[in-house]
């Protein structure tokens, strides 16, 4: 069988070909999906504009990411490891998340301002909760015996958090991070699309309003590149953290990847 990577690349190639061919043959109107070449051309022609927008968006994404992921992991870890707050706060938090923020966003800009602050606030909240919920849930799967052992050695709450809870929950935390990070990107772009005068989302929605689909998809392409970059970072962290994940499924496959671990009959 061909290697997974090859197949994946083939799929990507096929998608690219389809992207070019479907609009060209008129199977999909160019309005909905402009051909890849015209998209690239549109992006190239206005490269300066897109470059500027990307800088704005990247800044917003980076700041929101710090809030959402950092805060999400920390709070998730605290809430997940203390039973009282967990019972008290978690339901409230997930209920709060149920409030459709997208609808209220235009109103929120009143207090948060129309600039980057409101995008950062929105995207941080958007990405924060999944990260936090995933972390908290991951922590509940930790072997309580390990926490007991750490406690017996006099680990303070902070030490338990950093040295036991987070490493033990790392697989869950990492994928919480994945989801949270992706949502931060979506959150920034969506809020830019709704209300803003800068950033990739702004360009997307502006060109969309005048039905300039190649320019819209040039923006989408940039969002995709951000996702690819973020994914690369996460994979790097994942590989670094592989050693922490021993004893779980994630650890097993990570270990396989590193090339250690004994041969195992097929599961």
């Amino acid at each position: 069988m061909m290697s997974a990577k090859t197949l994946r690349h083939l799929i990507v190639l096929a998608l690219i070909a389809l992207w070019e061919l479907l609009p060209r043959t008129g199977l999909i109107p160019e309005l909905f999906l402009p051909s890849l070449s015209s998209t690239l051309l549109a992006g190239w022609n206005d490269a300066a504009e897109y470059g500027h927008a990307l800088a704005v968006t990247l800044y917003e994404v980076a700041v929101s990411m710090a809030f959402a992921c950092g805060g999400g992991i920390l709070l998730g870890a605290i809430v997940g490891s203390l039973p009282r707050p967990r019972l008290l706060i978690m339901p409230m938090v997930s209920s709060l998340y149920a409030v459709p923020l997208v609808i209220l966003y235009p109103v929120f800009t009143v207090w948060l301002g129309i600039g980057s602050e409101s995008k950062i606030a929105f995207a941080s909240i958007y990405g924060f909760l999944p990260t936090m919920l995933a972390t908290a849930a991951g922590i509940q799967t930790i072997d309580p015996q390990l926490l007991l052992a750490a406690r017996s050695m006099g680990a303070t709450l902070g030490q338990r958090l950093v040295r036991v809870i987070i490493p033990a929950a790392i697989p869950t935390v990492l994928s919480g991070l994945r989801v949270g990070g992706a949502l931060v990107i979506v959150g920034v772009v969506v809020s830019e699309m709704l209300i803003s005068s800068a950033g990739i989302g702004y360009l997307i929605s502006r060109y969309r309003t005048i039905l300039d689909s190649p320019h819209v998809f040039a923006g989408v392409l940039l969002v995709l590149f951000m996702a690819i970059a973020f994914n690369t970072v996460i994979r790097w962290v994942e590989r670094k953290a592989a050693i922490w994940q021993t004893g779980t499924r994630a650890g097993q496959s990570a270990a396989d990847e590193v090339g250690s671990g004994a041969m195992q009959p097929a599961t």
Binding site: A4, M92, V99, V102, V179, R249
Partner: protein
């Protein structure tokens, strides 16, 4: 039992505190009451709206769409997520692609759904499904990866089939992570359906909410948001109920 009672009381207290804060902010004029109508006004408006049969129909339509999309997205997403976690090859092929799909704002694709489904039930459900499935897949993958190897070894030694392993080992060990995932998925699902309704619609509450928002009818807007939030919270409670029933083995 006593602990749960105090927790319930504390929760109720927090809810009341939030509403009180809302009321005070608005009444004292700390926040322009035109921008944030008071909680009591909003609740009164909510009552009025619920009297209208059209609003009730809209709510029903939205709820049906949401549930249908959810009922389709969750099993399918869980299955794909499970396959990804179980099968390295499939994972290597699909995981990055799915992740990229997940990171793109979905609303870009709304016109495509109209192209395929026209405007109506199928399109809303389709988009709700599309907004939900990626997160279900990603969360399921996570959940599967948190399963302990020693438990799998035990099951394997007893000759458990794949299905048996899935239901008897994976499912119970994954439950905490999975329920959290369900919660988040539901919210994505709801947002997806509402976005689709806002985009193009003949009925549904999302469509109403969009109109209220654009006409600066803040009371109705907030009441609408409360309605949607209420649907989501009901669902949340449902999941919590399942959670408390299943989690007794955890200390």
């Amino acid at each position: 039992m006593q602990a749960t009672l105090t927790i319930r009381l504390a929760r109720a207290a927090i809810v009341i505190a939030i509403f009180a804060l809302w009321e005070i902010l608005s009444r004292t004029g700390l926040v322009n009451p035109r921008l944030l109508p008071s909680a009591s006004d909003t609740l009164v408006t909510l009552g009025d709206l619920l009297q209208r049969s059209s609003v009730r129909t809209d709510l029903l339509v939205t709820a049906t769409e949401v549930l249908t999309a959810f009922a389709l997205a969750v099993p399918m997403g869980a299955l794909i997520g499970f396959l990804i976690a179980e099968n390295r090859y499939f994972a290597d092929v699909a995981k990055p692609l799915l992740f990229f799909a997940f990171s793109i704002p979905k609303s870009i694709f709304l016109p495509m759904f109209i192209l395929v489904f026209g405007v109506g039930f199928a399109q809303k459900v389709g988009f709700g499904f599309f907004s939900t499935i990626f997160i279900v897949i990603m969360s399921t993958t996570t959940a599967v990866e948190s399963v302990k190897v020693e438990h799998l070894t035990v099951a394997r030694s007893y000759g458990a089939t794949r299905i048996q392993t899935a239901f008897r080992v994976y499912l119970p060990s994954m439950l905490p992570v999975l329920l959290e995932a369900l919660r988040i998925s539901m919210i994505f699902n709801l947002t997806g359906v509402i976005l689709a309704e806002m985009y193009a619609s003949r009925d549904g509450i999302g469509h109403q909410i969009a109109t209220w928002g654009e006409n600066f009818q803040m009371k109705q807007l907030l009441a609408g948001v409360v309605m949607v939030a209420a649907i989501a919270m009901t669902f949340n409670e449902l999941i919590r109920w399942v959670e408390t029933r299943c989690s007794h083995w955890r200390t």
